[in-house]
């Protein structure tokens, strides 16, 4: 419910951006909606060596602020698995993922490079006949990395289509993860902080992360899609495919491969 309210609130806020004039070609705002199906293959070695497939849906809203030839993009992404109850390990986003991307042209107007910052979180929680009382795992991150985008227009018969391919890779990440075997973050086990009843753990979770580089934290995204513009090229509808590889390796390992097949709408 919290996630749904957050997404709805964000939709309202982002939609308000459309109220700003878009007549200045050097200053434009674009609003994107995405809906689609997600196939996810996940494993959390804290609970199992087996990977599992999940089917779910993915949705996102994004706002792009174009200033001269630079792009600032804000995205809120939300996904949920449909059939997790068929599995005894339940993977879910704790909160929608937030991402800010900055891009500027490099050598040609079709190729943009830049960077991004994002915040994401996942919860892994076994359901069913599991008897342990420490069975919970979470991975939360705030990462910074490189981003590129290639875009161009091409014709297919009588249709003029837009094509865009994006790639991003983190270089540095602040990651929060439970300490070995227990649901507590490492800093929560400090004397004077630890509370057996887990009071105050939420704050400790946020402040107990560590900095990791690409060798330990990978959150790589490749995305490609085509869109058909309409309304004098001010709007577009298209399809995208996004491949996401998320892996965090400490004493245990979280790994997810996501395939998103999306319908995208640009307003």
């Amino acid at each position: 419910m919290i996630k749904q309210k957050s997404l709805f609130t964000l939709l309202i806020l982002v939609s308000s951006v459309l109220l700003y004039a878009q007549e200045n070609p050097l200053k434009q705002n674009r609003f994107f909606l995405e809906y689609g199906v997600q196939f996810q293959n996940s494993v959390d070695s804290r609970f199992s060596a087996r990977t599992r497939n999940y089917l779910g849906f993915h949705t996102a809203v994004a706002v792009e602020f174009l200033r001269t030839d630079k792009i600032h993009r804000l995205e809120v992404r939300f996904s949920k698995n449909f059939n997790y109850r068929e599995h005894i390990i339940f993977f879910e986003q704790l909160l929608p993922e937030l991402r800010y991307t900055f891009l500027k042209p490099w050598k040609t107007s079709n190729l943009l490079v830049g960077g991004y910052a994002d915040i994401g979180s996942y919860l892994a929680f076994p359901v069913g006949s599991w008897r342990g009382n420490n069975n919970i795992s979470y991975t939360m991150w705030n990462s910074y990395g490189l981003s590129t985008q290639h875009q161009h227009t091409f014709s297919l018969g009588k249709l003029q289509l837009q094509h865009r391919t994006r790639f991003s890779i983190p270089l540095l990440a602040y990651v929060v993860h439970p300490s070995y075997g227990l649901p507590y973050p490492e800093s929560y086990l400090e004397d004077g902080v630890f509370d057996f009843q887990r009071n105050g753990m939420a704050t400790q979770i946020l402040t107990s992360g560590k900095i990791y580089t690409l060798n330990r934290f990978q959150h790589i995204e490749v995305r490609t899609g085509v869109a058909l513009p309409f309304r004098n090229n001010t709007s577009a509808i298209g399809i995208d495919y996004q491949l996401t590889f998320l892996q965090f390796q400490q004493l245990d390992q979280l790994r997810q491969i996501q395939h998103n097949f999306l319908l995208t709408i640009k307003l």
Binding site: R50, S129, R131, N134, T153, F154, G181, Y241, L243
Partner: protein, 337 residues
């Protein structure tokens, strides 16, 4: 107008193939790959080796156990026989919190009841001591015995916080003493024990410690971390007897260990079932679920309670007398006052 170039076409085709291949890869990895019994055995042994906290206390040489059992693992034995072989190996640790769940059942590796006479019947208490004048709230049964002695039986560590309203009741009844009966309570969420303890202290009080496994190496342990109970209202400043038996296990042992050192509390009955370890469950490659203890509770004197909490006064019920409606353990508790 820009047309697709041949190199662009190759790029698109490559991306499409990459995505499609990844999809097939994802589907393929969900197939339960065939694993040998030797692999499962190794996986089980290694997980216990890296996560179990009580090797020293159990005086178990896990390497030696491996040598004893590894030779019995043959690929041609039935899955059921292999399951019970794994249970037997786990049983070498004599830990009731260790278990394996498989299509052949849920097997606790160790039976804490062996060698103990355990006789308790709450219906006898209700009929013959509470005279059928009692109330129930969640897993609590409570009332007032003769001579204004409050009685609370706590059957399970669920909805623990109902204790607060029950203590309000006891305060209203102006009980002069209190019996907390946790016989046959096999435990639950250990941290909740302090909710009960809180009614018998009037300031924050350290009541025990937790030591956790912090890594896969044998000596990867945290320093003991204090468990502090906060005072709860009403403060029951009356003599208290806690009744325990061998079925009082896990979180109930935590409760007994936390109550025992309090100045107005006496433990009467039978040594508890122990179970001082918090545990974690892991799915083996053949889908069996393995549960082992990976953190341990220590009492305020830093003594492990894994083997059980000894009562101050030992007494067990006689099954024949109990069948005749006499709960000797309860009567001994009443005598304390």
């Amino acid at each position: 107008m820009q047309h697709i170039t041949f190199s662009s076409q190759k790029t698109y085709l490559l991306l499409f193939l990459l995505g499609t291949f990844s999809l097939f890869l994802a589907c393929e990895t969900d197939q339960l790959k065939s694993v040998s019994k030797a692999e499962v055995f190794d996986e089980l042994w290694t997980f216990v080796q890296e996560n179990y906290v009580y090797f020293d206390e159990k005086e178990a040489d896990w390497n030696e156990v491996r040598q004893d059992y590894e030779g019995l693992v043959k690929e041609d034995i039935s899955d059921e026989d292999f399951f019970f072989l794994c249970v037997d190996m786990l049983n070498e640790l004599k830990d009731v919190h260790n278990s394996i769940t498989s299509p052949y059942g849920y097997q606790v590796a160790y039976n804490r009841r062996i060698g103990y006479e355990i006789h308790f019947d709450l219906d006898v208490v209700k009929a013959n001591y509470l005279n059928n004048d009692f109330q129930e709230s969640g897993f609590y049964t409570y009332g007032v015995l003769e001579n204004d002695i409050g009685y609370i039986h706590f059957a399970d560590f669920k909805e623990v916080k109902r204790i607060h309203s029950i203590m309000d009741f006891m305060e209203e009844q102006a009980v002069k003493a209190l019996i907390i009966d946790v016989r046959d309570n096999s435990g639950g969420y250990g941290p909740d024990a302090v909710e009960i303890v809180g009614h018998f202290i009037n300031q924050p009080t350290d009541v025990g410690y937790i030591v956790a496994k912090t890594g896969p190496r044998p000596d990867d342990f945290s320093e003991p971390r204090r468990i502090t109970a906060q005072a709860r209202t009403p403060f029951m400043d009356v003599p208290v007897v806690m009744l325990t038996n061998r079925e009082s296990y896990s979180a109930t042992s935590y409760l007994a260990a936390e109550m025992k050192p309090l100045p107005n509390v006496t433990l009467v009955g039978q040594i508890t079932g122990g179970g001082g370890g918090g545990n974690i469950t892991y799915e083996l490659s053949n889908t069996w679920l393995l549960t082992v203890s990976l953190d341990k509770y220590l009492d305020i004197n830093m003594e492990s309670i894994e083997a059980g909490v000894l009562p101050d006064i030992e007494i067990v019920n006689d099954s024949t007398r109990l069948a005749n409606g006499i709960d000797e353990m309860l009567e001994r508790a009443v005598e304390q006052f």
